[in-house]
Symmetry: C2
Subunit: 198 residues, 2 copies
């Protein structure tokens, strides 16, 4: 074998595996019915190689879901949502989500994820699951009187996904510069579309 005894990380296998996962997320995000041949081509590997890493389509999808959840969770963790004023934490959260837009777009297209991602996923280490920390942030914001207390935490969370998704879509369609998305998303998410005094 190339790699010593390791299963996950480095070495050829790890790198190829990650390339396939990233390509799959990117391709499937734009067309969830994409062929395994399409994914293999996007990853720059042969279809038989893809099959060697992931026995069947379902196994690949599962791996991409898991991987995406991990990547997103890490990104959200780094936003340190528990620290500082809720409004600022929320802005960091938006930035974190925009950083992993590809994975987000993929998860968005997966039917079961909307359930899985809203509920708390088991965190092996001490850190809380990312979705739970988002919910915590929203609750905290409501308690401190910064976020609308008349609507549910779940609603706010879903609207956040939706507005971020819209922003990513606009960028991909070339209707908005990449560097302007964060400001627009945050502005709309916080204020809505009604004119406010500056």
């Amino acid at each position: 074998m190339y790699t010593s005894g390791m299963e996950n990380e480095s070495g050829v296998r790890g790198r190829t595996r990650r390339a396939i996962l990233a390509a799959a997320a990117s391709v499937l995000a734009r067309d969830r019915a994409a062929t395994l041949a399409d994914i293999a081509e996007a990853a720059g590997v042969g279809r038989s190689t893809l099959h060697r890493y992931f026995a069947d389509r379902e196994e690949l999808i599962n791996a991409v879901v898991e991987d995406s959840l991990t990547v997103i969770s890490q990104s959200i963790d780094e936003a340190a949502l528990g620290q500082g004023p809720p409004l600022e934490a929320m802005r960091r959260l938006v930035a974190a989500m925009l950083d992993v837009a590809d994975r987000l777009m993929f998860l968005w297209g997966d039917p079961r994820v909307l359930d899985a991602f809203d509920k708390s996923s088991p965190a092996e280490d001490g850190s809380e699951a990312a979705p739970q920390s988002v919910a915590d942030l929203i609750e905290r914001g409501q308690a401190e009187g910064v976020f609308d207390p008349e609507v549910s935490v779940d609603w706010i969370q879903n609207v956040l996904w939706a507005v971020v998704y819209t922003g990513v879509e606009q960028v991909e369609k070339g209707l908005m510069p990449r560097h302007g998305v964060h400001a627009t998303v945050v502005r709309t998410f916080e204020n809505g579309i009604r004119r406010h005094a500056s």
Copy 2:
């Protein structure tokens, strides 16, 4: 023949055709990869009957798209977006969209529609195309100082779709009562998620 000379409207053929279109929109909205057999079953007709009305899958999809656009446009037309204060017109628009949620959800899942629906579709009668009238409303709202003038018309329109979509999704998942969606959507769309003085 059953029907006299008519092509579209009433008679057995028209009724069967509409049943198939409605069933297709509903089924495809939830799973765009649904089988023609699934659609036929949902419509309560045999698969061969479906094939008699729509030669192949593509033709069916096209018909559903066109039909959905028509239904939605009618609903939006009835909202009379040109009349009254922009904010109130916008609330009527949200109500109109929620009325045709099934068709909206279907169109949402179709890759090319996002382009087709944002641009003006040709209106054979004197009335403006529905999307264009929405854009007009937004522009009017911005001009009158009611809507945020710092963001583009396109952005506001897309955020509107997104928030409405989120609302419909919540209802379908049973997370929100059907009669409460309109108020929540409007509230969030107008004010965002930040607390405002009542």
